[in-house]
Structure formats: structure tokens, C-alpha cells
Symmetry: C2
Subunit: 251 residues, 2 copies
């Protein structure tokens, strides 16, 4: 069955299915969409995923969206090393963390990233074109997020709460990794892939709170994931210079 | 292995593991905690779950928290009818919806519920006792939520966004159920249990937007779940009069 992944940079949410597929050794047709050019809201892609979100995995006639459920699908539908522990309690632990990442930690980290990176990256473009681009976004929640990021409309209260949650999340993660090698315990799993994509840039964005002195276990865990062959192979598919900004992950 | 569930009302998040256990025919020791009396922040329970959240499932020496990951654990660890479809694509659909419910739809419905029900239910008690009770809450995010609910501090912007998301969620759910009998497609699954606990009260809280005329498929789906023996058995464990308020689910 044909397998195509529509994705942006491997260091964004797109990296979650990319890393899972790479760990399992599954080949796929890679279809890169430039998020900052709004490729994901163009008619060709909306014909694939009407919600206009990235990533999307097309397997035969199935169109799968949302990176965390896609990762579970990848592990269930393909051969290769299992990315979920067999023990139900370890699997619960993996899912507890994926829920924590997705519902609590990631939205806060993401809002800060949109505020300092995505917004400024596109803000200087032609305002009418930007307004038109926003109007084409199918999901209202995404329209609101893009509008706030582009026109610098996140409130200080929202940003403060995201900073508070991000720093609280760093502490929770450090405590867990001080007692566990991997997110689920002894085995590398989808929980680590999920967490890596969220956390690898924290030493850049929260340098006073996430560093070798204060969070040595997070740093060691990030480096262990970054040096995996599947991660190297996946990050090589990126088109931006992110790798040059995270040299602290090497070694 | 001993199995104990610490839970509040079966119509709250606690109902998710309760319904999953009942569908599978698994017996457990039921330990009721009164959320509105802050039982979940008392030392006896913090010795079980230091985060002070409900529900928690104790299986032998394992302590499991967070209702959605607990449900997946219940389906993996016990015999009885499977509550997850075998087909990986249907299973992806189930998890897509559980993520949508947990990360997007439920927080909005929940904020409105806290604002109109939980806050007013406890607000009139002795203020010093309330302040002390809030100070004992271990998770900062829960302390913030309780404080806002009790002292009526949700901002109009927050409430408006929750109303918007709740109504958008109702439309998305109605569209899905018009084309699918159950959340995952043809089979009853954890996705339906998750959704039922979130949605059964929408005809009460959003009567102009969720009713037999506008969302007939949601209403038919809720009634089909409500009449299941596992649901009847579970709701009978409630101590409040919620059943008398949802007579529209009968028949």
C-alpha cells in the first residue's frame, strides 16, 4: 500500500511520525509543505486534509491526522521494532506522558514559539496577503492562533501562564528522568519521541531553567535521542538551519 | 491482584474508568471521594496519589492516574470484551477523538461547568477554610483552577472562548455521528465512553445548540450509551441527583 507523509520540518510536530517511521525502518514518500508559506492551506493540500493541519499520513486510501494518534497507528500497522512497551503499566506511563505533553506542556511551549518565532517570521509580509492567507485557514482555532501570532496579539496574561506552565513542565520532566532512563521506564518509546520534539529547544528558549546544571537528566536524555540513527536520518530532511542552533545536543 | 478505584461521581471524569471496568465485567473496590468536600486533597488520599487528582486506579502496587490512559490500561490488563477496535485505522480514529476530547473539547466544557456549578457550590462556605483548602492543593494548575472557580475569577474572554469551543465541538461531533454509529466507526469503544462523560450534559448546558432538532445524532448516541447495562450499573453508584436531571437520555 502506498504510504505518503505530508510534513513540515522534522523538528516540529511533523517530526513525531517521521521519527516513528524511521525507528521502525518504514519507507515513505515524503511530501514537504512549508508552514511559513501557508502551503498547508492551499487547495492541493486541503484536498488531502480538509482541516489544513500538518502532518498527515496517507496509507492507501486512509488519511490520518494528529501526530500522536498517527504514531500509535504507525506502531500498530507496520513491522519493525516495537515503540510501545509490552507491559500494560509501562504503556500506561507512556500514555500518561503523551497526554501531559499534548494537553498541557506542548500548548504552552508552542504559544511561546509562535510568539517569538512564527509571528516575527511572517509579520513583515504584505498585510493584505497575510489577511487573505488567514481567511483561508479552515479551522477557526488555527485562524485564531495564526492571527494572534502574526499580529502580536497574545495577551501578557496568556504568555505569562505559558511561561509558568513551561517552567513547571521542565521540573516535572527533570524529576521523572532523574528516576527513569526513558519516558515509559526502561524502554525507548513513542513517549520519548513525543517529548523530544517538544523539549529539544527548551535549552534555547528557557536557558536559565533548562541547562546542564539545573536539568542534567533532561539534557542527557535529549542527547541520547539526538544521537539515534533514526533521529539523524530524520533531521537530515529538514530545510532550515535548526541543526546548527542545537549543537549543544551533540556529544 | 487487589484492584481499587478512587473516584468521585460516575458522571464526572471518574466515570471513564468506571464505565470501562463495568463494560469488561471487572470487579473492583470502590472508594468514593467527595470532590466538593476536597477529599482528594486530604492526607489519606495524597498518600495514594500525591497529585491529588481523581480518579486513581490502584492495581497491586501500581498507582495509575489520568482517566484516558487508565482506560487504555484497563482494556489491556483485563479480560472481557475488547473496548478498542482491532483495525489500526479504526483505533487511530478512536485516539484522534480521545485527543480531541481531552486536549480541546473537555477543557472548555469543564471550565463552563466549574463556573456555573463547582464554584457556586462551594463559594458560600467559610472563606478562611476555603483559602486553607486551596493552599493544600498539590498541583499549581489545579490550585489556579479552583481559585478561579471559587472566587469567580474566570475572565469573560476565557469564558467566551470556552463557549465558542464548546459550540464548535458540538458541530464537529454531530457531523461525525451523522456518518458513524460510534466514535471509532462500527464498534463501541473507549472513545464513546470518553465522549459520553463529556457530552451527556450538553443538552442541559447548551440547550439551544445541543437538542433533538439541531443535533439528533448526538442525542441518539448519548441515549444508546445511557441505556447500556454497564452505564446503568455505573451511574447507580452516584450519590448526587444527576440522573434526575438527565431524564431526556431515557427512552
Amino acid at each position: 500500500m502506498a504510504l505518503t507523509l505530508y510534513h513540515w520540518e522534522p523538528n516540529a510536530n511533523s517530526g513525531k511520525p517521521m521519527l516513528a517511521l524511521a525507528e521502525k525502518g518504514v519507507d515513505y514518500d515524503s511530501h514537504y509543505l512549508d508552514l511559513l508559506s501557508f502551503d498547508q492551506h492551499k487547495p492541493e493540500y486541503l484536498a488531502v486534509n480538509p482541516e489544513g493541519t500538518i502532518p498527515a499520513l496517507v496509507h492507501g486510501d486512509r488519511v490520518l491526522t494528529e501526530s500522536t494518534p498517527i504514531m500509535e497507528y504507525v506502531d500498530e500497522a507496520f513491522d519493525g521494532p516495537s515503540l510501545r512497551p509490552q507491559d500494560p503499566a509501562a504503556r500506561w506511563r507512556m500514555r500518561w506522558w503523551m497526554r501531559y505533553f499534548d494537553a498541557y506542556f506542548a500548548p504552552s511551549v508552542s504559544m511561546l514559539g509562535w510568539n517569538v518565532f512564527v509571528g516575527p517570521s511572517v509579520r513583515q509580509r504584505d498585510q493584505e496577503q497575510l489577511a487573505n492567507a488567514i481567511d483561508r485557514i479552515p479551522l477557526e482555532s488555527r485562524r485564531i492562533a495564526w492571527r494572534k501570532a502574526i499580529f502580536n496579539q497574545f495577551s501578557q496574561e496568556e504568555l505569562d501562564e505559558s511561561i509558568r506552565r513551561t517552567r513547571a513542565g521542565i521540573e516535572v520532566l527533570e524529576t521523572h528522568l532523574a528516576a527513569n532512563r526513558w519516558i515509559a521506564g526502561d524502554e525507548y518509546s513513542l513517549g520519548d519521541i513525543n517529548g523530544f520534539n517538544l523539549a529539544y529547544a527548551l535549552p534555547l528558549s528557557q536557558p536559565d531553567h533548562c541547562n546542564d546544571d539545573k536539568t542534567p537528566h533532561i539534557l542527557a536524555w535529549l542527547r541520547a535521542i539526538y544521537r539515534r540513527p533514526a533521529t539523524k536520518e530524520t533531521w537530515a530532511k529538514g530545510k532550515t538551519d535548526m541543526a546548527s542552533r542545537v549543537t549543544f545536543l551533540e556529544g
